[in-house]
Amino acid sequence: MKAVLAIIKKEFARFFRDKRMVLTTILMPGLLIYVVYSAIGAITQSMVEDSAQPVVYVQNMPQSLETVLESVLEVREQTVSDEEAKEQIINGDIDALVIFPQNFDGLTVSQNVPEVSIYYYSANTTSSSAYSVVVSVLNSYEQQIANIFDINAAQDVQYDLADSRSVSAYVLSMVVPMVLIMLMLSGCISVVLESIAGEKERGTIATLLVTPVKRSHLAVGKILSLSAIAVLSGVSSFVGLILSLPALMSGSGVEFTLAAYGALDYIGIFLVVISTVLIFVGLLAIVSAYAKSTKEANGLIAPVMILAMVCALCSMFITSPSIGLYFIPVLNSTLCIAALMAGTFAVMPFVITMCVNIVFAALLSVLLGVMFNSEKIMFNK
């Protein structure tokens, strides 16, 4: 036990005394995610706000549509020929040319099918939005005059029963498991490869192997300390992500309320994260111990990454998982996180997940200890 503590202390000293490592592994990921996502949110928001009203020419403006069209478009008097107007559209001087037939209103009443032409330039954002605005106005007008039935027509009834809390819970339950898994994995990769494959490559791990420290203690010490560091890295990214979500989503119309979750939800997620990180660190440690160098380890971890990705993706498609799925490590973590975010948390799957993950991580650390004992693995060059 003393040896395990000594190993953990050394790994922490190695990490936390190295300002550069702390900066790149813990502070940077969260900060970067926060800054980048907030910036993306700010940019999309400003795009939504800044979009100027499209400028259009309208020929034979029907009375029935005049008010609607003029409220969403800037209708300008056409002083040039149609050909010149099309030229202006291409040059971006105006955005569209809408030609109604004469007596459009009369024709629609008399069951004739009049034709409306809209000239626009799809390679220009404002022009194509002018086009879609006109089309949607015309479509809704068409439904209005040939009205057979109405859908959700009452003004004062809220038909979507989901409040903004449940909407954000749904969106988060889709997004968060995936993002969390990837963040955890990248946090683990950066510390584990360096500490195991790196130490093996530099010959410093062999020095530990001639001391009376048990191989299993060395493995446990490494896995625990590296997991703690990886969790910190993951938490940093997670906090960055959560803090940037309101800004990121502000343009999408979904209001994010993190207050939807209580302390218990967050504790649950945190426990799942820890158990998953233990597994990732164990898997990556085994790959690293097998590899001859950090470079080789970097190549060999591809299968681990793919498996993690698959598990993360699965949680998006499995909406009502059977209890058996919770016996599969990592997949159970993503399902648990999804359930916690969606507010469909149940105790049994959570308990199974924690037990399975911890047992699996323990098996991995036993395997790592066995590998540390193998001269073929530790001394192959």
């Binding site: 530099r202 009376p212 001269e375």
Partner: protein, 259 residues
Amino acid sequence: MQDDCILKVEHLTKSFKLPLKQQKLEGGNKIKVAVNDLSFTAFKGEIFGLLGPNGAGKTTTLRILATLIRPDGGDAFIDGVSVVSNPYGVRGKIGFLTSELKLEDFFTPNYLFDFFSELHSVPHDVRDERKRTLFARFGIDKFAEVKLANLSTGMKQKVSIVVSVVHDPGFIIFDEPTNGLDVLTAKTVTDYLAELRAAGKSIILSTHIFSLAEKLCDRVGVIVDGRLVALDTLAALTAQKSLEDKFFDLYSEAVGGRA
């Protein structure tokens, strides 16, 4: 000669698998025998030298004694403890020094001394006392808080020596002790080995440098191609001619006899 035996090597054998292409070159031989039925004994308080050319199996033998690798056959007992059945017991008794075992560049000599003391469960007061003595002996006190990365090769070697004896082992295994060191540092190392012997420690070292063996060793085992071809006191081996000439005789005898 002392009667107490500290190291007893019995029929030690170790072979490695050859790569496929090399197997073809060697006419279908699948393995290379690195250590071939090696037996010898070393006594308490002496410096035992394993002498041999590059590739003779010296390093492999020492690695087996240090419990880093397991022999295919045979066994070795250090102070009565088997390297095969009780490697953990052996590790607490030995200090192993080789250029292959490195220390982490990031840490200072002071930190590393404490860390390895912890791994060997050395009590703190003993550790501090020992650290003071050893650091003063090797002049490490002057750079005790400088990261290893910023030290010269000689300084690093001194730190390695000090760290390998944090637990005051009775038996020290030293692979090529002066390789890559300048004459001054090499002298510090050889002087220290002599001091250890004077303090009653037992040492086994491997070398291909005859002058070093002549200067330090009490008894010498000569190995060629994994086989022990001579084992005697230095005095007996060098009775008629220099160790180097004697070695050439032994070598041509061994290689000639086999061919």
